[in-house]
Amino acid sequence: MNISRRQMLILLPAAAVAWESVLAGTPETSPNYQMSEHWWGMLIDVSKCIGCGNCVRACQTENDVPDGHFRTWVERYNVADEDMTEPTVISPDGGKEGFPVAEEDGKKYFFVPKMCNHCADSPCTQVCPVGATFISPDGVVLIDQTYCLGCAYCVQACPYGCRYIHPQKEVADKCTLCYHRITKGLTTACCEACPTGARQLADLKNPNDPIHEFMRTHSVQVLKPQMATGAKAFYNDLDGSVR
């Protein structure tokens, strides 16, 4: 199923929001936004990803992500049918500038965009000693960078490698699911920049969100389900070799 632009407009009330109100405001004061009415996640369609790196670049632009660190990145898998437990994976500079051209070699190729899974039972927020990282009432794992000690315990606790210590700020840093955008009715920078619709922001509390229909009709999986983190980045067409 393709999520059409018409549906996207229903999903995102941004059209109704004037640009001025988009530019500023907190979730409480933002028009049309109530934290209790949302539960955010992401739908990632592996079969649509072309490895262009648009999402990585958009994220770095939108969020001033330091070089060599990634809030989102893209991996290219190359899997032989005889041993899918040992895939060859590359992610040159997080896939920021795309990937080298792959030649047919009898093996399976595909791209996998990665990002924070905004887990509902997140191991990273569990271990934070001071309450500097937390799950917001609308289901986004955020970091209070004015409160973070920079102990890096959360970096160790994330099974997906989504966190890093910001080299200048010396605090933990990660994907915010573009919280400053989604609370203003916009989609995330990576979704906005994705040319194929391989990434779709999803509001699991919104009954009109196409995610519900999609989840009912597709084989959807999360990364490392054995970790039981309640991951909310849902992958369509995910190969078993991906970890």
């Binding site: 060599g68 660190h69 990634f70 990145w73 991996e75 437990t85 040992e86 895939p87 060859t88 994976v89 590359i90 992610s91 500079d93 997080g94 990665k114 191991p123 569990q126 271990v127 934070c128 000693p129 001071v130 309450g131 500097a132 409160y147 973070c148 000690l149 920079g150 102990c151 890096a152 315990y153 970096v155 160790q156 606790a157 994330c158 099974p159 997906y160 490698g161 989504c162 966190r163 890093y164 210590i165 700020k169 010396e170 605090v171 970790m227 970890r243």
Partner: protein, 392 residues
Amino acid sequence: MSGVEGYMYPNEITLYWSVLIVLYPYITGLVAGAFILASLERVFRVEAVKPTYRLALLTALSFLLVAPLPLVLHLGHPFRSPEMYFTPHDTSAMAMFGYVYMWYLMAVLVFEIWLDYRREIVQLSQSSKGLLRVVYKIMTLGSTNISERSLALDEKVGWIVTLIGIPSAFLLHGYVGFIFGSIKANPWWSSPLMPVVFIFSAMVSGVAGVMLLYMALTKLRKQKIDMHCVDTIAMYMFYIFIIDFTLEMLDLIHRIYEADESFRSLNFMAHTKLFFSQIVVQILIGTITPLVLLFLTQVVKLPEIARKRIYVIAGCLAQIGIFAMRWNVVIGGQLFSKSFLGYTTYKMALVTREGLLVAIGLTILPLFFLWVLVKLLPPWPEKNTGQIAAAD
């Protein structure tokens, strides 16, 4: 990126827990182990180790004072560390550190040392001069009552404190193991055995540490080493070491037999990047060699001089082995990718905030604290009576 083999998630290439985090469990381990040795005499009435009782307490205190320093120094924002006391997160093992540490420092160690030394402190506050007199006066906390009955009361309270201190020492170090053992994302760490292994290795390093300090300080003071005491300590060290080694091997065999999804990656690491520090230093040099040496002293009747030398060698090797074990846990746990597809390299800096020089400094600092404490509160009975006699 240099130093990377195979595939790492891009954010995993940098290691965030450096040599300082290796030092931290090593130092708290020495504290817990030294305290357990002290409790042998106090609670379990092993009279043979009495000459080391006070030294063990002072050693525990001086290392405990340094224990949080490597942690605080590695923080991106060290001055925010009081947040751990103000808003401790109840689901975080690390948050409990502040409270367990404070409890152990004040309610157990300082209190027990104070009770045990109160008589000397009061006497010294009257006999010494100048600044020292003021220091001792403050240490009396405004009470000069050293009557028979009050000292007998101190003895009873001290016994209870030690009794509480044993589980506290286990808690202090067991929780350090839990910090690592509870991380389900990391198969190298995630194991319920981790806290237990940490406690027993802590006891080995602490007991060996106090034994070495006792022998060295006695030599320095040109006194005779109490061989009965050292023999007893070595015997306990041997038995604890066997338990520690058994647990570590159990963990290893379990991993090899289960061979779960992470096994190929971890097994490869143990044969390459960790081969020297794990197989050679930790297991062969740091565990099996001292175990064999100590075993010899238990079954063969060796002359005193040979036993002394063996104890020194075994004690030093045990320290190296336990340090290597901390290294392999902390650094080893970050060398492989959580995708199990690649490995990175740890490059230790020399002069940065988390560099080698700071680590060496932090290792020496407790010895300096110990020197001050030994000067202030002499743990030697003979010397004490001499001073008191002179004061009278």
